[in-house]
């Protein structure tokens, strides 16, 4: 089938501001949007810049705004968003500085990630038998959902609170904090909760649910944020 890809372009070496360009591409209905972008890049205009690697939705490189919604270009099939002759719009995710075409500066995003202590803290001596710490299947299950995060930024850059204020840590960082706060092996939950109770922490969330809809890994982001809020409100982690 034939579709048009309408892509927001920006070349920092020649452009003052972004502009739209439209490319006609011949695709299979089962092609990914990433395949269509590659078709443009490889056969029509090599200057198109985007990040991508795994091409099957696990590395988190290619979050972009496709027809106005955040998705991974490699995880959405053309047939699910367009019919023959349709135009698909593609633009960079919002709220982070655009560097070139579909590439944004991810550093502010990763700075928020690093701010929530995204690592296990446990100062107890290791098991004397030299083996693993024990954790019950139920305790392991408690934080399963938030271990799926691939740091693609689709959630954070779909959040109106983040658009309004880039200092807000954003859903992805809260998801990462959740993954450790609810891990029975971890001992730094209180420190993380303190970080998240600050001015640009979890209370900036207005439960818009955009993040949950945007998450390509199906994480219940808003629910996780709610659980962190609940822990802050009640002082109980469960």
């Amino acid at each position: 089938m034939k579709i048009n890809l309408k892509i927001k372009r920006f070349n920092p070496e020649t452009d003052k501001k972004p502009h739209w360009e439209t490319y006609a591409v011949e695709v299979e209905p089962t092609d990914r949007v990433l395949d269509a972008l590659h078709d443009v890049k490889w056969n029509q205009d090599g200057t198109l810049a985007l990040r991508r690697s795994c091409a099957h939705g696990v590395c988190g490189s290619d979050a972009m705004r496709i027809n106005g919604r955040n998705m991974l270009a490699c995880k959405v099939l053309i047939q699910n968003i367009a019919k023959d002759g349709d135009t698909i719009t593609v633009e960079p995710i919002l709220g982070l500085p655009v560097v070139k075409d579909l590439i944004v500066d991810m550093e502010p995003f990763f700075a928020h990630y690093r701010a929530v202590m995204p690592y296990l803290v446990n100062n107890d001596p290791l098991p004397a038998n030299g083996r693993e710490r024990l954790q019950s299947p139920a305790d392991r299950e408690r934080y399963d959902d938030t271990t799926k995060c691939i740091l693609c930024a689709a959630c954070t850059t779909s959040c109106p609170s983040f658009w309004a204020r880039g200092e807000y840590v954003g859903p992805a960082a809260i998801v990462q904090a959740h993954r450790f706060i609810f891990d029975s092996r971890d001992q730094a939950a209180q420190q993380r909760l303190e970080i998240l109770s600050a001015q640009d922490g979890v209370w900036r969330c207005r439960t818009a649910f955009n993040c949950t809809e945007a998450c390509p890994r199906g994480i219940q982001v808003t629910k996780a944020i709610g659980e962190v809020k609940e822990a802050l409100r009640t002082g109980v982690i469960r």
Partner: protein
């Protein structure tokens, strides 16, 4: 102006191997990691099924059994002392990952859960053993995340989105690397005492592959150009279960949980070929059996694919036939294999709980690569001479623990065991070594010249056309089945493509985020690797593990129980070195 940096130890690549090396090197000396991707985008994150270690959490197991399985799986081309190290140290390495926070699935009594995987057996009963430690079917994702988290915790220094294009080697010693910062196009010279290469696989030589777009063999090509050899390049693994046409991997974990291969007649054909291990036979064998079925007309609808069947009622039926008391349901599969079930749903529109899934073998894993010793030190030749200051670990390296065919779950083991050993060895080395002088301006100039040649070339060839033709010929002639005549054709074709590559033209003449340029540069690396792969495959006139020659269908221990080493200095030179056999004499490979 080129920028200049100095670190005791450099790690190129931020996948499992690189991060593990960085964690351990940075405990002792000033260390930096350079990666062309953000670390969490590395392909380690796509590993699904598990990481093996003889923990014995669910049934009896021994590291010696793991070692035997690895050696037999590798068709006796593994260096057995290295395999012993890997399988013994795997146990502590997995425990180490748990201590770092890795959320492994758990047994009812809270230990790390384990499952079956191809080729891993109880050596006494010969039956599959539960050895693969897992976190659902995103074990690699959890390893990558956990290691990155610990790097942040330990303040490891990262240069993210810097692509290395040259390795500085003088008088047989390595003094650092040259990289381009992707955001600016600037050249950076990194001066070091020790450098570890951990850039992963290079499966983008093939079209149907489980490998990421970024797996283009940049560093193996760079060391080859610097006059160093690559080892066992003819051995590349084709994984039996790639998503039909796309190559996306459906982990062996599916078969570990009971899935089976089915042909057009609805027959579980692996029973015929490998009566004991059946669908859990090693990958090279399964891939060949699939192609044999297809060639004999039993592909689905006569086409070039078969089914992987993991409908719960079918799995239970086969459990019953095998005398296995276990029974499972859809919910069980959804929790054990959520990602691969989703891959089938998203990319094929098929619900594996209700329908069988079309699959075909997919280019997956490089057994060969940069030769190293057991401490990740890079070898300069077939005599074992060391390149001082240069290390390699992970998929890019060839220790060789995988021999002619890697067992599932053993790559992740390799990453953590030899990544750690490499990190420790670098730190020790750096403490007693001093910086050797380098010619930083000349190094930067040579790096810039490599890129300018492509940027300013005024030819008429589009890189993509060349890439497509290379991948087509590799799929067709340097795939699961090979022949002398086919390999010669492939070499001719690659030479033609290399000549055309000199006449490429790219669209983007800029500096900032010039991915047009970097992709074209990567294509040059792939062409060099394709060339040496085909050469080494042509010279090996036997069949062993992942290398199958239709014109020489048998293993030939008299002439070929040896590793190949290939150089490309103008022309291609091949030499060989013996396999280190310590405990287990070669025997016929039956399952």
């Amino acid at each position: 102006m080129p920028q200049y940096h100095q670190f005791d130890a450099l790690v190129v690549g931020a996948g499992g191997a690189g991060l593990m090396a960085a964690l351990y090197a940075s405990k002792g000396v000033n260390t930096a990691v350079i990666s062309k991707l953000y670390p969490t985008r590395s392909h380690t994150g796509t590993a699904q099924g598990g990481i093996s270690a003889a923990l014995g959490n669910l049934e009896e197991d021994k590291w010696e059994w793991h070692a035997y399985d690895t050696i037999k799986g590798g068709d006796f081309l593994c260096d057995q002392d290295a395999v012993d190290i890997m399988c013994r140290e795997a146990i502590d390495a997995v425990i180490d990952l748990e201590h770092m926070g890795l959320p492994f699935d758990r047994t009812p009594d809270g230990k790390i859960s384990q499952r079956r995987f191809g080729g891993h057996t109880n050596n006494e009963t010969k039956k599959p053993v539960m050895r693969a430690c897992h976190a659902a079917d995103r074990t690699g994702h959890m390893i990558l995340q956990t290691l990155y988290q610990n790097c942040i915790k330990n303040n490891v220094k990262f240069f993210d989105e810097f692509q290395v294009i040259d390795v500085l080697i003088e008088d047989g010693k390595c003094n650092g690397v040259v990289a381009v910062q992707l955001a600016t196009g600037e050249i950076h010279v990194f001066h070091s005492k020790a450098t570890l290469i951990a850039t992963g696989g290079f499966g983008k030589m093939w079209k149907v592959t489980s490998n990421a777009h970024s797996l283009t063999g940049d560093l193996p090509a760079a060391v080859l150009r610097r006059g160093l050899p690559l080892e066992d390049m003819e051995f590349f693994q084709f994984h039996p279960t790639g998503v039909y046409k796309l190559g996306i991997l459906l982990s062996e974990a599916a078969r570990g949980e009971g899935a089976v291969f089915i042909n057009d007649k609805g027959e579980r054909f692996m029973e015929r070929y490998m009566p004991t291990l059946k669908d859990l036979a090693p990958r090279d064998i399964c891939s060949r059996c699939i192609y044999t079925e297809i060639r004999e007309g039993r592909g689905i609808g006569g086409k070039d694919y078969v089914y992987l069947d993991f409908r719960p009622e079918q799995i239970n039926k086969y459990f019953e036939a095998d005398g296995n008391p276990k029974r499972i349901d859809a919910h069980y599969l959804e929790t054990r294999l959520p990602d691969i079930i989703e891959f089938a749903r998203v990319y094929q529109g098929i619900d594996p709980i209700k329908e069988p899934v079309p699959i075909q073998p997919t280019a997956h894993y490089a057994m060969g690569g940069i030769p190293t010793d057991n401490d990740a030190r890079v070898l300069a030749d077939e005599t074992g001479r060391i390149v001082e200051g240069l290390y390699a670990a992970g998929e890019v390296a060839c220790v060789s623990v995988h021999g002619a065919n890697r067992l599932g779950t053993n790559s992740l083991v390799d990453l953590v065991v030899f990544g750690k050993r490499g990190g420790i060895a670098m730190a020790e080395y750096c403490k007693q070594a001093s910086f050797r002088p380098i010619h930083r301006d000349a190094a930067a100039k040579a790096g810039a010249a490599q890129l300018d040649r492509i940027r300013n070339n005024n030819g008429n060839e589009r890189p993509h056309a060349i890439r497509k033709e290379m991948q087509a010929v590799m799929d067709e002639k340097v795939g699961v089945y090979r022949t002398g005549a086919g390999l010669e054709e492939a070499i001719d074709k690659i030479h033609e493509l290399q000549a055309r590559y000199k006449r490429i033209r790219i669209d983007d003449k800029g500096f900032k985020w010039n991915t047009d340029l970097m992709e074209a540069w990567e294509l040059g690396a792939l062409l060099d690797l394709a060339e040496v792969t085909a050469f080494a495959a042509l010279a090996r006139t036997e069949s062993r593990g992942g290398h199958y020659r239709e014109d020489y269908p048998n293993r030939d221990d008299v002439n070929f129980l040896k590793h190949s080493m290939v150089w490309k200095n103008g022309t291609i030179t091949l030499k060989y070195k013996p396999v280190r056999i310590t405990r287990i004499p070669p025997q016929e490979r039956k399952y």
